[in-house]
Symmetry: D2
Subunit: 359 residues, 4 copies
């Protein structure tokens, strides 16, 4: 059922989300190439096997990988494998899992609870986190059983975790016999931002499972759930099937991922999106009355602007979201196909509308 | 995670399932056409709107339609909208929902129960059905609350329900204040087989919700949940979201359905698949020792064959499934891109191997 | 909310269920004795500890025991510990878990499925059972994962399983890596009927968990979930708590069980109820037109009677249930406080109404 | 399974919880009186009917009442009737439902979410509450659908809501099309503290459903779920049954409630407990180094004390809990059978140990 009130006109310039971009042409080409002859369904095909091997090579170890279609499914399925129905999932209070996925984690875990932890720049304060976990543990069966720490990398504030930062959470998780999950809807952007290797940014820092998104970085609809810890994978295939997330024509899911990794498409796309964000941040920092609350380390820019400026920019056809954290804060997102022009057009408009430019 | 033991070689001729076929080229072309510029996500796009209008026109009434990716998701979501957690879903004991979707209906409904009813040719015996419903109702809160009758059209025996047959179940559902669901994973094949209109084969016969599959009839992964009764649609958007079945780049789901209906592609595909099945059935009926237990009315053929013949056909590279209903029964499925040659090659091989041909 | 339409008058003689009896005076006395001073809640009290030791002694081994209030809770909690959400629970098609507990097993397991198996005298046919399990296993993630065999002892047909019979199911469960559950709502009656020891009738025959009911045998509301296999008990305390089945004033639950075992009250009560059933069966077998379809081995009697006789007996103030298995079948249940007189009065009335007596 | 480490010796004086008290003798007597003859099970008895009528009279209107055994069950069942699986339940961050009932609300609602709101003296800040609700509503299907405001009266800080205060939350709930639930585990204590009528403290202030606890105020295990709004009660009987909370020998649950209301036992018990708490508060306020953070309005006293004093009081045999809100905060609870002596003994000991008394 469509609610068409927000359908935008052709002239709109979209900074609303990286999922408003279409798909990269290489991804579509891969679908066409995959469409030759009949093959077995449900992932029992050669292309799926190749993708799994690619992922093992990339992460420099044996992984257990499952492909699904949406980030919400990837996160909720991953969490359900880590957390019993009476468990607690500790995440930043601005995390996507707790703010933007309805009650998917609760649904897939059969009723586990997410506990929001505040903290600067999208990262849960580690002292508060430790306190919250310890407090629940003291209370035994009367409160949740702490089970998972879930981080988002890149964060919902447009910042990134380095391997060293991740390792602090990894150690904490280990101390409390909990698992560490990373929501990597923008993992590509975090990776190119930190310069770390996929291994360093995951299992070498204590991550047990990564949900690695391709959709926001050029795919049509393709996400990976990658387990580095086989303790959690028994029966995961049942979880995927019973939630309706096992594709029969699985090759078309695999083809997207295959193209995503081919010729470093994922890295090129992420570098471009990050570069566009940096360009936008540089420009915005020269607009009168605009402040950037957080460092721009990936492909999301958060800006506090005068209400009038926000309104006028929208009237000129720029689309972006209000962000609830603070009044007059907005979020702008760049993608693999954001053009220099679009950035520059936005900055020029902001300068004009703000009545001046900071030198 | 792939289990590659069943990956088949290039020479295999696949009668395993209609989901082993790839996608129709028109569907892929539609994706490419849809990939122009940025548009709003989550179904707030013009293409999604057009698809909804197409469906209204096709069914000659206002419908409420939701698109998802898999048949399991479509069925389980639809059932969850019709059935409370303490409800009973009555289906044929061979139905896909109870045999091939793991516990998806139980998961999505938060623990409702499916009650298997036997019956000839894939159709629940209406007397037995009535008795089972009445018996549960007599038992009040101690047993399930009968809530849904779920039929599959075309059935899991390759037969089809006519509008008149459907109406009997529709009346029964109404008498018991229950809803009528049709699993239409092969609705296209049923429709062209019966010659009925979409309206006649659904709401005019008492159907409250149809899950209408495009995947098995030429799409990549696209299924419609179509409600004819708005009583069940409140909050359905929440159900889809929390189960991870709302695509962000929704236009690519809509594009598949748009192409599916364009120029009657769906009807052409289904007619072809049905014709191939009829050709196969005619041929098989002339093979010594082979019997067809059920009329071939759509694109599935069930055959009881000597065990040796089954084995030898597989050795020659034909893929098809054993069917658990009876010993030495197999299922063969044709699709939109099954070729005459493949059928004829199969028949010729069967004749040779069976050592003769019935005139 | 009461539905008072079935509230019965004072003159009624109740053969409806053994839960229509009140509680044994010893049980009530025990509550009063337990009501001295303040003690810790939630099972951290000396009486609960004593009850656990009693149970260990009775079953001649270390057990892990949890107390709850209703049989439905006991069964559903036990099953949820044995069966994943995608699992299958195989039980007789007349079992209490599938006919009389609404969808409690589905609720507590987060959506597992019960598979009904037919069989004579309340016992699942072991060939059919094996076939159903094997068939599901062949189908992998597309069907349920067979997880539990659940038997009722005494059965819903008033018969009992001997240790040897149980062991056949135990072996089958082991072969398929499944667990064996026994619903022992009338375990006391089965035990005194077979003459077997508690150990022989449970873990020595392969039973992994027993739900052992005291309510139907003289308690107010008290049931034991007794695990013989510690593999299933991790986190069970969380399951009980989150389902609202952990009593704060737990001593009053323990006191009931303590009194139940004290001075062999449970055995005396069960022997009495069984003797009353035998007396009723002997009497009924001499009534013209009445047949007993199953041997009367515990405290339930099933009888097929002329419809007129059924109606007339009810008019005379006898309460009992129709049983859905066959037309004109009724069930009569005796309890720890059924009186000889009540039985004899029933038999005399039946003789009079049936117009004669078989010598 | 017992963890006996906290089993306390006979000399202990218990201020741990009002559920450490036993049952009032009148309640036990009522069980014995109810134990006469056989009656229909599952609530179809005259005593249950009488209890429902008592409740209607007490609340000066037609109510729909269900009896269950534990406060966790009562709360979770009530919330599940008010909140869809994708809904949000807004409560104080110190509420029992979110801190002391494991994940029961999530389990019974099939995965709804509780949103903790801070606020002084156990009452959610109404501005923050409004903001949180509005923010979720703005986010549509991506976040929870605000469905319930849940308050605890008396609160977890030992304070009480007056009818006027409740009405503010009631109005807010109405404005947002949400329901208002009150966890009344200590409703008796709140009622006698405010002096309001049952009607004024519930439906006349906008409360849709009250869980009214008898257990902490003298019963063995008996709680009422009382609906003032029939919109939520359809199928509630199914909810209770499938969660294993429908007693077969229901008269023994009804008998407890009947005695609870007979001769104003509930009011007398609550007045006594509150008086003991006031006496304890007065005494404690004269102990050096002790502060009471919140007004003592019901039967819970919170005190911040020197760590040494806490330890020494425990060594002298006083049992009470640490309270996690602040360091060195403890909670003491009085009950219907707390004796003057126990209070005075505690105060004297505190004076001695604290080395002085404030005049």
């Amino acid at each position: 059922m469509t609610r068409v009130d927000t359908v935008s006109s052709d002239d709109t310039i979209h900074f609303g989300s990286d999922n408003q971009a279409g798909a990269h042409p290489d991804i579509l080409d891969a679908l066409i190439r995959a469409n030759t002859g009949a093959v077995s369904g449900y992932g029992n095909d050669a292309l799926t096997q190749r993708v799994e091997e690619r992922i093992n090579a990339l992460f420099e170890r044996e992984c257990i990988t499952f492909l699904v279609t949406t980030g919400t499914a990837a996160n909720a399925l991953a969490l359900s494998a880590l957390c019993p129905p009476w468990g607690g999932i500790y995440c930043h209070n601005g995390a996507h899992v707790i703010n933007d996925e309805n009650t998917a984690p609760e649904f897939f875990t059969a009723g586990a609870r997410q506990i929001p932890i505040s903290g600067a720049e999208g990262k849960p304060d580690i002292e508060d986190l430790n306190r919250a976990i310890s407090s629940a543990q003291t209370h035994g069966i009367h409160n949740v059983k702490p089970a998972v720490i879930s981080l988002t990398n890149a964060t919902e504030c447009g910042t990134v975790f380095t391997p060293n930062e991740l390792a602090c959470y990894g150690d904490l998780a280990k101390d409390h016999h909990m698992a560490l999950h990373v929501d990597g809807a923008r993992f590509s952007n975090a990776l190119v931002s930190t310069g770390a290797s996929p291994a360093a940014l995951t299992w070498q820092s204590g991550v047990d499972v990564l949900t690695f998104g391709a959709t926001k970085n050029g795919a049509i609809a393709a996400e990976m759930v990658i387990f580095f810890n086989t303790r959690f994978t028994e029966d995961f295939a049942y979880r995927r099937k019973r939630s309706g997330h096992l594709w029969s024509k699985h090759r078309f899911l695999a083809a997207q991922i295959d193209a995503f990794f081919h010729n470093d498409l994922w890295l090129k796309n992420a570098r471009h999106a990050n570069a566009m964000a940096a360009r936008l941040a540089r420009g915005l920092s020269t607009v009168k009355g605009v402040t950037l609350p957080w460092p721009v380390e990936a492909n999301e820019i958060f800006a506090i602007m005068p209400a009038t400026l926000i309104q006028q920019l929208r009237q000129r056809g720029f689309e972006f979201y209000d962000w609830p954290a603070t009044e007059n804060m907005v979020r702008l997102v760049t993608s693999f196909n954001t053009a220099d022009d679009e950035i520059d057009h936005f900055i020029r408009s902001a300068h004009q509308l703000a009545g001046g430019q900071i030198q």
